[in-house]
């Protein structure tokens, strides 16, 4: 029981199936077809800068909307009776068990011509195509990743010591003040992990934009998938860039979280 030996099979596994594959991405990113060192792949991937920017923008927008919807919901849940709370938590998690392609396909059914939402919009006298634009992509992302925002915020809010709230009330704080001085600051760690859990998969996802967006709405994940079929080197360069952007984002968010924890 004091031995490190049981981890040896996994250490070998990690070397072969985690470290070497990533090293290969780096290798292909910095070489050309014949294996010579070059930075040409990175130069070529600059062509996709606007796709990168658009993906990050869509991810940012989706994350913000998720936060706007999830925060009040988490707050309401944390104030509810335990039994109600459990039911709502269950209901929020249930759609996550459905494959994401099916969830996106469900929105295609709703938004397509003569789909239910399309018909409802027509009844309101509006005639706009709902499918095939950036708005539909953001909607799909919010639908897909909303639970990842609700769950961490909710679990942090549940842990807030009610005596702190009571103490603030005893000291004369009104509802708004209790919220801004106690509940909100203490819920920040949940917000941070929620942002990370929504932003990372949204920025790097593929397929969602293909189903819900138009031809101009492709995201970086779609580009990577597409390019790898033709050019491993440029594909690797873009993957490496994506990986580094995500890593930097996670490090910044973690730092931010640690500082918050240190203050609290």
């Amino acid at each position: 029981m004091k031995s490190k030996a049981p981890s040896i099979p996994y250490l070998i596994w990690m070397l072969v199936f985690t470290i070497i594959p990533l090293a290969m991405v780096v290798y292909y990113a910095f070489t050309d077809r014949s294996g010579n060192f070059t930075l040409q792949s990175f130069a070529d991937s600059l062509f996709y800068t606007d796709v990168f920017v658009r993906s990050l923008w869509i991810a940012l927008l989706s994350t913000a909307i998720c936060l706007l919807i999830a925060y009040p919901l988490s707050y309401i849940m944390s104030r509810a009776k335990a039994s109600t709370r459990n039911v709502i938590t269950m209901l929020i998690m249930l759609p996550m068990w459905m494959n994401f392609i099916l969830r996106i396909y469900a929105w295609v059914l709703l938004l397509q011509n003569d789909g239910l939402v399309d018909l409802a919009v027509h009844l309101l006298g509006l005639d706009v195509p709902l499918l095939g634009n950036a708005g539909a992509v953001v909607l799909g992302m919010v639908y897909n990743f909303l639970p990842f925002m609700v769950l961490p915020i909710h679990s942090v809010m549940l842990k807030i010591d009610n005596r702190l709230v009571e103490a603030a009330q005893d000291l004369g704080a009104g509802k708004a003040k209790v919220f801004s001085k106690v509940i909100f600051p203490l819920s920040i760690p949940g917000i941070i992990s929620g942002i990370t859990m929504v932003f990372v998969p949204t920025a790097s996802t593929f397929l969602v934009a293909q189903y819900l967006g138009g031809t101009g709405d492709k995201m970086i994940g779609d580009v990577i998938e597409n390019i790898f079929q033709r050019d491993k080197n440029v594909g690797s360069a873009i993957s490496l860039a994506l990986m580094i952007i995500i890593l930097v984002f996670i490090i910044i968010m973690n730092k931010f979280g640690d500082e918050e924890a240190a203050v609290a």
Partner: protein
């Protein structure tokens, strides 16, 4: 005033639920629609009939289950052993190993997917094999094992090490002592790690997509291919069945947990 706020909360929760469940409800409704478009043409079960007679779907369902069961079993053994070994490491090495182990969790799925593809394509030309069942299984084990470790590690930390020593003092050999004291303590973590692996493997699309090669189909891949060809209500029938099975499993697990809880407190 208080009632008004309560009503507001209820409406808000209800709206979010409509947002979450309207698409699923429509998906289910159309699985019974006797027509291919979104216009309602009457009730039918023919899409379910077609579903069960679709051999491609049934084969891919079988493949998905085999992969998920094997991936869950292998990664549970691999991950539990790894967690015990890592638990015994000293601080700097332990942090390093844990960080590397978490790479598949943190890394964008698509990057993990293409990195596997590069490796398997390279090995494939070297040893002359094609991607398929084995490469998908290896990839699934790789991204499931970190979750097993994440689940088992806290249980090891919570465990009182002296019970293991007590077992040794009372005459157990190390193996007996391990299975009689350590194993029961970490069992909840092992089980939840295994369940997590099973569901992640079952649901995976992205990594399978890049490691499956030209022929091997899993259910998510089959759904993707079907949607590429044309939208058929068979997919709705499939979604409905999957959704019902999920609810059934969740209810069973819940009841089982509650019963276990009762037994513990009794």
């Amino acid at each position: 005033m208080k009632n008004k706020r309560k009503l507001g909360s209820k409406i808000y929760v209800a709206l979010v639920m409509v947002f979450l469940y309207l698409p699923i409800a429509v998906l289910i409704l159309y699985s019974f629609n006797d027509g291919k478009t979104s216009v309602w043409k009457g009730f039918t079960l023919k899409w379910y009939y077609e579903l069960f007679n679709n051999s491609a779907i049934m084969t891919s369902l079988y493949n998905t289950l085999i992969i998920a069961v094997l991936a869950a079993l292998v990664s549970t053994v691999l991950g539990t052993l790894a967690a015990i070994g890592i638990y015994n490491m000293k601080k700097p090495v332990r942090s390093l190993v844990t960080n590397v182990s978490n790479i598949p969790i943190i890394n964008p799925e698509i990057v993990t997917g293409v990195s596997f593809m590069l490796l398997f394509a390279f090995l494939g030309t070297l040893f002359n094999f094609e991607m398929g069942f084995a490469t998908v299984l290896i990839a699934h084990i790789s991204f499931c094992t970190p979750y097993v470790i994440l689940n088992v590690m806290p249980k090891l930390r919570q465990m009182d090490y002296s019970i293991y020593e007590a077992a040794l003092d009372l005459g157990c050999n190390p193996r007996q002592a391990f299975f009689k004291t350590v194993m029961p303590e970490i069992m909840p973590g092992v089980i939840s790690g295994m369940l997590m692996s099973f569901t992640y493997s079952l649901d995976d699309f992205v990594i399978t997509y890049f490691t499956r090669g030209p022929k091997f189909q899993t259910l998510p891949i089959e759904i993707y291919t079907m949607l590429r060809r044309r939208i058929s209500p068979t997919i709705n029938a499939l979604s409905t069945l999957l959704f019902i099975i999920t609810i059934a499993i969740l209810i069973i697990v819940n009841v089982w947990e509650r019963r276990a809880e009762k037994e513990r407190t009794a």
